[in-house]
Chain length 699, copies 2
């Protein structure tokens, strides 16, 4: 083929240079990417620490991650375990806040490792911190609970037949006064501890949730530390059966297992006795209030909201950088070069509202974090019963908000990941472009530490019960002032403007989202009240209004997210330079979410049909505006290529070469191993129709 042949049709087959395509997006930046990064991460100190932590990981040979699609489950588990020691040493040697930040970044790099380490650190240690007496805590720390020297813990809550409903667990811990021991026992197969992370190959001890039985009386579920393996030999201890739960959708770095206990005896002191105590003569003293287990639950949810935002950043980096590189079809006259994906309206509508949502989650996560930290401090310093009661009100609110946000944000991010994956076209289906495994790893966030549907219903229950309180003249939770206003004035406001810039304005949308949220909460409350007046119990009335409650919670959380993003502009850390992009993102998020929920907006009479059409057009305009800064916004997430771990999200745009090289490196050529045994016989087989003796029927 001569070169002149290629020249014959230069335009049709010209492929624009990918690196140049991406670089073009960074010319004449409309805002300072660096300032945006600082704003997103919270401080320049955080940015520097992030760089340092990512660099440490990238240089550590145990932290190679780009070959994950090609290594077996057992290799993956072994490599993951090799990483534990280095991180455990950090845990011992750096401040708690630095270590927590490290873990949040590690979760973006390797979510499976995060889980494996987190089971010991978050769940096992968390159980000790929350439920052990000071001397018990001291004992287990001496045994190595903090350093992982001498012991590794796992967390034995869920059972084969029991998940979300902890009160329904079947495992028993029966007190035997004669030996001053508890007998831990798995009575049925559905009582088998199931999904226990670290049980299959890692843990020496387990924090077992079991029903406390003393003198034939069932005191409900308490926590007991049960040794599983001899730390010197790793042999299973007597009465312990353990098996591997095997392959999962994702996070195969962690060895989930099942455990059965057959009359396993532990000293009485291995029951965690901060709240409930059992004396040697079998006297059980229970705390006057239900256990304050709220705190630990909230922590996990706060973490998952931030993980949602961070994972969404990673997914969007891949999809948006690729969209600025990939050219396909042409919108110009025949013979024009192919058009960038990012220049198509549908591609913009597909990705850019999700980018705005990601920013909203980022700032919501910051707000939730701050509220949670303030609360934790207030809980510590509260002295009087009145003070404590006030703090407990805040706790209830944060519990509900964090439940709703966890559910909403993990669902939102799962959707973002899959939308991003599909936006890569066929390449999204490759294991080497990063989004399929991201989906598989992330999916479990929607289920663990509270199934999302149940959490949404909890949040909705709080909203309905708060409404009930306002109407009785009681206190207002901070983030529900809008609801109080609506329910006390007994009317919702209406947007009366026809000016598109007013209809799609920051304040109009703030009022609108508050209004729609109040509308849907009041609807759920009305239904609930109706059911109460019909004679149902509270629980039955809540169940009968479940669909409305779930919907109300979704509206409330969307409003919360929008308010966080719209309010971010007013934060002192938001420099003038970056205000405009934040405003654009807030409008895009607020308006596109309003269009998606147009029925609700019209029903509440905040917007009319015409205004909804105005918003629709505004979303088109906003997409065009945000498109111009999309790559800069992605750059401001500031994740290095090592962390993005996808040739499609490379900062330099060198997508195709690096993808091809990765595929070749991980899948070197080799002859087909089953050619002789399977394919050759197929290709060379004889058929019934081949020549041969013919069997005729005599007649």
């Amino acid at each position: 083929m001569s070169s002149s042949n290629q020249k014959a049709t230069p335009k049709a087959i010209e492929v624009p240079n990918p690196m140049q395509s991406l670089e073009n997006e960074r010319r004449n930046p409309l805002f300072s990417v660096k300032e945006m990064t600082t704003f997103i991460d919270g401080s320049s100190k955080n940015v520097a620490l992030k760089h340092a932590i990512f660099q440490e990981l990238e240089r550590d040979p145990n932290w190679i991650i780009d070959d994950y699609p090609n290594i077996s489950l057992s290799e993956l588990r072994e490599r993951t375990m090799k990483k534990v020691q280095g991180v455990a040493d950090k845990l011992m040697n750096e401040s708690r806040s630095t270590f927590m930040y490290r873990m949040s970044l590690i979760s973006v790099v390797d979510p499976g490792f995060w889980t494996r380490f987190g089971v010991h650190m978050g769940l096992f240690l968390g159980a000790l911190q929350g439920q052990a007496t000071p001397s018990q805590m001291n004992y287990w720390v001496q045994k190595g609970a903090l350093s992982l020297r001498g012991m590794i813990g796992c967390f034995g809550m869920t059972e084969l037949g029991h998940g979300s409903n902890v009160a329904g667990l079947e495992t028993t811990a029966t007190f035997d006064a004669s030996s001053d021991q508890f007998v831990i026992h798995t009575p049925t197969s559905t009582a088998t501890k199931w999904w226990i992370g670290g049980a299959a190959q890692t843990a020496t001890h387990c924090a077992v949730f079991a029903r406390l039985i003393v003198k034939n009386k069932d005191y409900g579920v308490k926590t007991f530390i049960v040794p599983l393996r001899n730390p010197q030999t790793f042999e299973l201890l007597s009465g312990i059966n353990i098996g591997d739960i095997g392959k999962k959708m994702g996070r195969d770095q962690i060895d989930n297992g099942w455990i059965q206990f057959t009359n396993v005896r532990i000293p009485r002191s291995y029951m965690l006795m901060k709240y409930t105590q059992v004396s040697s003569d079998g006297k059980v003293s229970e705390p006057p209030m239900a256990q304050l287990a709220y705190g630990a639950l909230i922590m996990g949810r706060v973490t998952m909201v931030s993980d949602s935002a961070n994972t969404a950043k990673k997914a969007l980096t891949i999809a948006i950088r690729y969209a600025a590189v990939r050219h396909q079809f042409s919108t110009g006259p025949i013979g024009s070069p192919e058009t960038k994906l990012l220049d198509y309206a549908t591609h913009q509508h597909r990705l850019l509202p999700l980018l705005a949502q990601c920013f909203a989650m980022n700032f919501a996560s910051k707000k939730l974090n701050t509220e949670y930290e303030t609360l934790s401090k207030n809980l510590e310093i509260a002295k009087s019963p009145i003070e404590t009661k006030l703090v407990l009100n805040d706790l209830k609110e944060i519990h509900a908000t964090s439940a709703g946000l966890k559910a909403f944000c993990t669902w939102a991010t799962l959707n973002i990941i899959d939308q991003c994956r599909q936006s890569l076209g066929g390449h999204g289906y490759s294991a080497y472009t990063g989004l399929s495994s991201m989906y598989q790893d992330f999916a479990v966030h929607c289920t663990w530490e509270g199934d999302n549907t149940i959490l949404m219903l909890q949040c909705g229950r709080f909203l309905v019960s708060s409404t009930e309180s306002f109407l009785k003249g009681k206190d207002t939770p901070k983030n529900l002032n809008y609801l109080k206003k609506a329910s006390s004035e007994n009317k919702l406001s209406t947007c009366s403007s026809d000016d598109p810039d007013v209809v799609c304005g920051l304040e109009t949308l703030k009022e609108g989202w508050a209004c729609v949220s109040a509308y849907s909460i009041l609807r759920a409350h009305k239904l609930y009240s109706k059911k109460i007046s019909e004679g149902l119990t509270q629980d039955q009335a809540y169940e009968a209004s479940a669909a409305a409650r779930l919907h109300a919670a979704k509206m409330h959380v969307t409003a919360y997210l929008y308010h966080c993003l719209a309010d971010a502009v007013q934060l002192p850390e938001c420099s003038d330079n970056i205000k405009e992009p934040i405003v654009l993102l807030a409008l895009l998020f607020g308006a596109s979410a309003a269009v998606q929920n147009s029925g609700e907006f019209i029903q509440s009479r905040y917007f009319n049909s015409k205004q909804i059409n105005t918003l629709r057009n505004k979303v088109d305009d906003l997409c065009v505006k945000v498109r111009k800064i999309a790559v800069l916004l992605i750059d401001s997430f500031d994740y290095p290529d090592y962390v993005i771990n996808s040739p499609f999200g490379r900062k330099d745009g060198n997508v195709y070469d690096s993808y091809f090289n990765l595929v070749k490196r991980l899948n070197p050529y080799k002859p087909v191993p089953y050619f002789d045994t399977v394919i050759k016989p197929l290709l060379n087989r004889s058929l019934e129709t081949d020549d041969g003796p013919k069997l005729e029927i005599d007649n």
Copy 2:
């Protein structure tokens, strides 16, 4: 632990018998499951054939599928190849319709095998059938293209840098008159053939899409058969580079690969010349009309609509049977037994509208199939140009409808699978409950044979251009009569009733969906016309109205699906016994989709806000009614346990025991392989803080 201990709290820890729980759902059935199965499958002959085919697969040792999560990629590929011969023999020995039915069932059992076989049968053979001359066809059949004896084909269309836009492909086929050969060449790395199923380990020949270059002139993309490997040795032929694309999100049964051609010479006759011909002296004759490649494209889409329905049946079987077995929390007074998941309103709202959607997809698939078969016959028998033109109009419509349905139904089913997975709680994350791999396998349906977004836009373009035609007084496509009515009368109808049974009635919803669909199409058309009047080209105007067009297509397809389900009641095959369940499902689908799109219904003025609230309440009622027959409806899908391949979807309800046994069988106990090398050193390590010489600073 004595038995009296257990009696102390019998109610809290009583786990209802799973098998009994499921069996209870089948007492006093409200309709004949057998008749429903016949109706769903189309005929009792189909039902019998289905049973026979499933039985053959289940008994064939090559068709074991329950251990897939635990076998390696290379084992999976080898086992898949072992199955090819048996299926190829069926292809040779049974009718085309029986074989097609067999393949549609195989797709439910093992989608990865379906793809591996389908690449040869559907794509490679399809290319021959569509583009080879009769004597070329005869030649390749002689070589083994039908029997797979002597050759196996693959399909070389997509390239690393080019997917959906076939016209942008870079690979060249340059005619060399001196040798009467084509030279096939890969000019750049982005021109590398990519994603080619069967290339890595299976194919001897490839149907290569390449730009025909004759005497320096580019004639666009044509198809060429290029030998890849020596069938006797499987060595790559000269000039062929092939590599393995490796791990994918799913469907690892098929060996996708990449191919580069370096000046590979093939005889001129290896170009498929049904339409475009190249003579030995380099004269190119092109057909008067663009190639009728429509037919092959439609076939793939018709298949994927039916696969969507069938896969949704499988997913819903797992989720709904489990929901009838699993008990969790209690809605009754304290001490009541835990409540069935299926009895929770949120669980009903989560799954039952999806069940209704699955039925809608089933009947839409039947209708589409029938229309496609009629069309194919008409195309064959059309004699005069006028007849042909009429048939081509139908072809255009089916092309657009099938594009929209393929996109909508594959998205819908992907969502159904994930909703079902999440509804299993934590167990949904196990590889052994079947839904995670179903998601991973199914996901690619949204991308291949036309990316869903692009297909939706195509469908939308057809709707807008049809509107343009009506307004000019031209013919009406069959399924768009509602649109013609709306656009000619220049007004849409309104539902004026306040009676809940009328508002949520079959006919009201039919009219409503037609109306909302017309409303959104007219909106897209209006925007398009505005852009045209502003001086944009047709293509630019379509691009400028892309978001509205996409939305219009979604509304149109939803309307189409609803109409198919609502009309199913009138089919002669729908016996009285099963009419009521079908009506309930149609109402549930139509009403819940209307509530989801409430903004659109209110904006079009078909329903007002109050009527939407009426529908909301009706959806609650319908969920309760459908819940009563949910397990019977699932039973009527009539998939054996072998096909469902999930302990959670077992017909006998024995969920926990079979799940536990499967996990134990596939993950037998073994000592931790990296205890000595990794864990023991961690547990026994010394720390900096350990006793030892202290380093003091002199001062």
